[in-house]
């Protein structure tokens, strides 16, 4: 048995311990309950909670990142909408792509996205993130970011104002309320 198999077996052992010995618990491997909840009013309540606590990653990538940072600061005070900047992707719900995505950075960005727990949303902030902006046709940037991330809201501008980002969050909240967002499969 090679090392990888060994690790997998050990991991499975760890995963299987603990669930069966809790009395009164039942395990299921299907999504039936989850799918059922999505059709009921409970999902509205869930979405109400989600839309009012959109925490975003402080992931300043380009010059737009400065606007992103400013939005989280006291002057714009996004906390009143429940929009709180978080420094760890593991605490965050919204990834804001704030600037040019270079070929070298894309894998790291994907990794940040993978580290965020679902449900999660993505906002493209600035011309660079939408189409390449001034770096359109550069040898080292990537265009068409929506191929890699399910983008809900695009914010044009170079850079967009902080108010535009707040507007984007409001649009995202409307989308979530209307169950039209890409964060969950309804």
């Amino acid at each position: 048995m090679d090392e990888i198999e060994q690790t997998n077996v050990e991991q499975n052992d760890v995963l299987n311990v603990g669930y069966t010995d809790v009395p009164g618990t039942m395990l299921t491997e299907s999504n039936a309950i989850c799918d059922f909840i999505k059709k009921t009013k409970i999902q509205d309540v869930l979405n109400w909670g989600r839309k009012n606590s959109l925490w975003f990653t402080v992931n300043a990538m380009g010059c737009c990142g400065v606007e992103l940072l400013a939005t989280g600061m006291a002057h714009y005070d996004t906390d009143r909408f429940g929009i709180i900047p978080r420094n760890s992707p593991r605490h965050a719900d919204v990834l804001i792509i704030s600037g040019y995505v270079t070929r070298k950075y894309l894998p790291a960005l994907k990794r940040i996205w993978d580290q965020m727990p679902a449900p999660k949303w993505c906002i493209c902030f600035g011309d660079c993130a939408i189409s390449g902006g001034p770096f359109y046709e550069s040898y080292s940037t990537r265009q068409n970011i929506e191929d890699y991330f399910p983008v809900d809201v695009y914010v044009p501008g170079c850079p967009p104002r902080c108010e535009a980002l707040i507007q984007a969050f409001v649009e995202l909240q409307k989308k979530i309320e209307a169950k039209k967002d890409k964060g969950t499969e309804y």
Binding site: R103, K104, G132, Y139, S140, Q143, N144
Partner: protein, 158 residues
């Protein structure tokens, strides 16, 4: 020392290797250097003429002359003079001795020039791409004949 005495000192020491030396203004010297002996020239500049500050090292591509230039810009803390030295390399196989042994800060400049122009620095301690991802290695994107730009419009706009 002023610009003229620095030129005469350089050409006196390396009559074969320094050519086309001229004074651009009171504080700037331009000279061409033979690629084979660039390390000795730099060592002489640093140790005898106290040019201790390598400001910059870069490349420039000249497809019509079929040459790639590596440019060394060296300043001094003692003389009010900046030297611009150029070494001309053939475009199909640009190779030059690394000057990291003399100026340690040439390390990243040479790595950048290597990944952007493909200038190979011999005896460089760690010649690998600095800024570009692996997939662009070998494309030499700053050469004038580089055609690898993605020529497609962003789909979500049109």
């Amino acid at each position: 020392m002023d610009a003229n005495s620095i030129i005469s000192s350089l050409t006196g020491k390396f009559p074969e290797d320094i050519y086309d030396a001229s004074v651009e203004s009171d504080i700037r010297i331009v000279a061409k250097v033979k690629p084979e002996n660039v390390v000795e020239v730099c060592r002489y500049l640093k140790e005898d003429l106290s040019f201790g500050h390598l400001c910059c090292e870069l490349g420039a591509d000249y497809p019509d002359r079929n040459e790639i230039e590596t440019v060394y810009i060296i300043g001094s803390y003692d003389h009010p003079v900046v030297i611009t030295m150029k070494a001309l390399l053939p475009r199909d196989n640009p190779e030059i001795e690394s000057i990291v042994a003399v100026y340690w800060n040439a390390n990243w400049y040479e790595r950048e020039t290597y990944e952007m122009y493909g200038v190979k620095y011999l005896n460089h301690p760690d010649l690998k791409p600095l800024l570009l991802p692996e997939e662009l290695h070998g494309e030499w994107p700053w050469r004038k004949d580089y055609k690898g730009f993605p020529n497609k419009t962003a789909r979500n706009l049109v």
